[in-house]
Amino acid sequence: MRKVIVGNHAVSWGVKLARAEVIPAYPITPQTQIVEQLSEMCASGELDARFIKVESEHSAMAAAVGASATGARAFTATSSQGLALMHEMLHWASAARHPIVMADVNRALGPGWNIWTDQTDSLAQRDTGWVQLYCETNQEVLDTTIMAFRLAEQLDLPVMLVLDAFYLSHTSEPVDIPDQELVDGFLPKRQARYKLDVNEPHAFGALVRPDDYMEMRWQLHDSLRSVVDAYAGIEREWAQLTGRSYGAIEPYRCEDAELVLVTTGTITSTARHVIDERRERGEKLGLLKIKMFRPFPGELLREALNGIPRIAVIDRNLSAGHGGIFAEELRSALYLGDVAERPDLRGYIVGLGGRNVTPETINDIIDNALSTEPVQRPDIWVGVKA
């Protein structure tokens, strides 16, 4: 079935097809449409799930934790302040190994109030032990939602599905919606490895002394590191069923490139358009989209960027006092490899708080990146009014 739907509804459809069982949620712009539609689906009986209209995002994640701990497939969605409020429970979900799937519609954090897109909210949660997958299109959103549950339950890890506010969340695109049967085959009912079970009573989460804590965190870390391969396998399977796959990273026209732009989310589409144009003009430019931020696919990136002399990372986010987060993560990933010659990697900060990132912005970045003048600072702010 093909439908023209907004990105938010692509999430809802994905959740419905994944047969989520418990959905605790709290409204926040621009995520609200996701849970609105899910509550309608629950109300109409299309989706057999418990929708819990919690009183806060913290409780949304707490309830998801409770449901997941009891063996249910749990989903929630949020943005910005809501995600920040959940922070404590994000750690709880991952360290307790609850395969919760959550959609975060990227939105800038206040103050001042700002409802527009900005990745800082999700990236600020990078150390919480969640898998983070950034999407570019509504189709990718739907497919990733379904795959996220597979991935989460395969490794007992929570997965955050991230999409840009408005550019994706509120933008309609045609989306191929797979049959329920297909999804059921791909994603069977959850079989929890551990759960609250009166027939097999255990205590979960009790005090762990220093002599065991590290071993548990090691395992969390190890599972997260295995996500790259596991996700590849899941995508292969999904591709066999639907013909669609995305990759943890997606290099585009990078062969022989003198400069590769690194992007995430919807900026990728804009950049792809610019790269195509300038390639036609004979410029040796490439593009690399990063979908998976956690775990950070360092090895894939080192391989993909090996030999590329110039790299321009476009960040619609900010680690204040440090710089763009993808740029910093990539820089550190490349440092680890045996890259023969260190590339000229420049980080560009754009579009914070939803400011438009146009083809002109991308062109300016490319021009700057191709210039040979030395970089004065690791973060280059684009379009800041003087």
């Binding site: 819990i52 209209k53 009183e55 934790v65 409770g66 249910a72 009790a206």
Partner: protein, 302 residues
Amino acid sequence: MSQIIIKDRIPDNELLVGGHLACPGCGGALAMRLVLKELGPNTIVVLPACCWSIIAGPYPQSSLKVPLYHTAFETGAAVASGVRAALDMAGQKDTNVLVWAGDGGTFDIGLQALSGAAERRENFIYCCYDNEAYMNTGIQRSSATPWGAWTTTTPTQQPQATQKKDILAIMAAHRVSYAATASVSYPVDLIDKVRRAKEGHGTRFLHILAPCPPGWKFEDERSIDMGRLAVQSRVFPLLEVEDGERWRFSMEPERIPVEQYIRAQGRYRHLTDEQVASISASVEHRYNSLKELEQRSTASIS
């Protein structure tokens, strides 16, 4: 019959095992044991941070024979909402979900989640075992700490300056189907209330006073006595509220002076006789208001 024999009214279930890490004479440990006796093995306990986070034992131990989920301080009612939803989805509708929270996790940091769950009529039993301060962290005041009490953050030069929050009234204002106060010193009354809670539906709230020998500064063996004095002095009346409007005293033992309760505890040692008299007056005032509520409830029923 002269001695009131209660053993036949206490269920046999023993779901608390020895070796737990409560202090000697802990009212909270006994409260759990008694509550689980009535709820039985088909119960899942959600445990936000509180003394019981320690009492339940460190990894890889558990002092309960029922499933237990340790969770963050403010999340008891929210996690329980999720547990309930998952159980319902799995068709386990007869499994009890019990939130077991201290006064900090109920009166203070967990109040929002509790309020939300209560308003949503989440189907679980919420027990607050109230030892009237943050005891696990070393006796800091909470909004359940009574006026005049010493804690490490309300030193005797500046003891607790406000009245204990009326959590029962707060829960009644949510019109939960059943809310009650109970005491470990009156086990039959407590068990009866757990049973009524168990038989009910929606959010059911029990506020259990749990005397704390190290926090209140009294001898370990007087734990039960202290709970009894609290009830007898009407400092902690035993109440039930149905649907937020039908109030009743479940039992009213013969009254004793408030001094007898206050003066038995080191945390009140600094109080002057006048201050104790003012506590007594406020206890009397609240008692009279509660009596009025009870009478109004009775009048509206008949």
